[in-house]
Amino acid sequence: MAKTLRAPIILDNVTKTYGDKKALSNVSVTVKENKITGLLGPNGSGKTTMIKIILGIIRKDAGKVLLRGRDPFKDPRAREHVGYIPERPELPSSMPVREVLITAAKIYGSTNPKDTVDEAISLAGLSGNEWKRFKELSAGLKQRAAIAHALISDPDILIADEPTSNLDPIERVRILDLLVDLNRKEDLTLLFTGHVLAEVSRVAEDIIVLRNGKLLFQGSPRNLMDIASIVAIRASDPVKLSMLLEERGFKTRHTPFSLTVYLSGREEIPRLMEALAVLASKHGIDIFSIDTVEASLEEMLRRE
């Protein structure tokens, strides 16, 4: 597939409101060209709203959006060479998937729709199932059909909204690997959403985190891990230790048997160790174990 250098995705102070609820609040992000960018956030954080605004499916209330250098809501040329895999994908079931893809290839302006579709079917791993109707496909094959549909646009940019939701664990890995493979082979910019940090950070080179419509973080997965350190402590009196650590400005959660400390970065670990040493000796609390753990997205967001 032919490639040309095109502008990436840019959001500048984008705001979107549904009634009283702010779905996106002054979000500014840039998606880097030819990189895999993961968009993270819990349900209702504004991920899908952001994706729809990027594609021009819905309007923004304020701010500026550029997709391939154009406003996607006003200028349909912005969506040329942009593939979209919606959350829980759906294609018309009135004709076989291959026919739908050929028609879609014509809409994308393909000069040779049949060849384009055959290539997309092969790349998406849909071969052998292309004559079925969309509704007859399994969840995994539906996802592959949606990927094939996204590929017929000869994409520079591929946008996937929760591409692994509703799939079993094996199929989740396969689909993500397929997207990574496409990013490498086809040199395309991939923006995908998810809510499992481990899954997204496995493949993403850049991560954007949203919470309640606000941008929490944009950077590399390593940096995200740094700010998301968690320390699990087993102690003789976790309740008292928790209270004492809170007095010293640490964010904690405790059970009768253990204590979790949420740090804003790995650089806070020495300060925590020092505090633990002082508090243990001063208040006679026995520390049995201290472990650093990788934060899940949910834990990280809970801490904020």
């Binding site: 349909p76 912005a78 969506r79 959350e87 759906e90 018309p92 009135s94 809409i107 302006g109 549909h149």
Partner: protein
């Protein structure tokens, strides 16, 4: 914007609107109905033939437009195919026009023209005598069908759910016709404004009256000719405007 792209989108959406077997079934039923009606009655004018054939067909067309056309748009929204349409490199205005053509214009033309053609075969010796009146009556019924369809798709944009769209569309259709009937019953004479309004609410009645009456006092006024076509145009433009400027799936 390439016409090829718009045509592609039209084919894609039409494949849903006029997908068999419902379309074949509808065509079979309305053709059979019109042929039987053509055989069991005697006609000596093409306008009375068209009137008798197309009145029951119009009800079937309105049902199709409500249950497949307009609620199909709601279904596109609820099953998120609309998002796929909106992600194509096609302008919103083009998508709105394509949806209007696919969900209203094409089904109306099919369901009005086919029975007209079938009855035209049965009564070919009559139709060839006055084809212009026959076509004119067909066009008048088509305008009425487009009117219902335009209102239905407007309802679909607001309702966004297939069930609500179907119910509200049918409610509109029956209320509209009941109001026309009430206006006609309470009017004092056939020349009163109320009676004229009741007649003008069905564009084909206005056209039929203008083709059949020789009495000057009973001839339709200009506003009677303009009422339904204006409402159709207004509804269609409103649908296209909302769809292209404000609609969010």
């Amino acid at each position: 914007m390439s016409l090829k792209r718009i045509y592609g989108l039209l084919s894609l959406d039409l494949s849903d609107t006029i997908r068999p077997p419902l379309l074949y079934f509808m065509v079979f039923v309305i053709t059979l109905l019109s042929v039987v009606l053509a055989y069991v009655q005697l006609f000596s004018t093409t306008e009375s033939l068209a009137m008798n054939i197309l009145r029951p067909t119009l009800l079937a067309t309105a049902l199709f437009l409500a249950l497949r056309g307009a609620s199909g748009i709601s279904q596109l929204v609820s099953n998120r195919v609309m998002e796929v349409y909106l992600s194509y490199p096609v302008s919103r205005l083009s998508i709105a026009i394509v949806l209007y053509i696919s969900r209203v214009v094409v089904p109306s033309i099919l369901l009005i023209t086919i029975p007209l053609l079938a009855a035209g075969i049965v009564l070919e010796p009559l139709v060839v005598q006055e084809p212009s009146n026959y076509i004119l009556m067909g066009v008048s019924f088509l305008v009425q069908a487009l009117f219902y369809g335009s209102v239905f798709v407007l309802i679909a944009l607001v309702a966004k759910s297939t069930g609500t769209t179907s119910i509200l569309s049918l409610l509109f259709y029956f209320s509209y016709n009941i109001i026309a009937l009430i206006l006609s019953s309470v009017s004092s004479s056939v020349t009163s404004t109320l009676f004229r309004l009741a007649q003008a609410m069905s564009f084909y009645m206005t056209v039929y009256n203008s083709l059949t009456t020789n009495i000057e006092a009973l001839r339709p006024y200009l506003w009677e000719y303009l009422l339904v076509p204006s409402l159709t145009l207004l509804s269609a433009l409103t649908f296209i405007l909302i769809m292209s400027r404000r609609f969010e799936p």
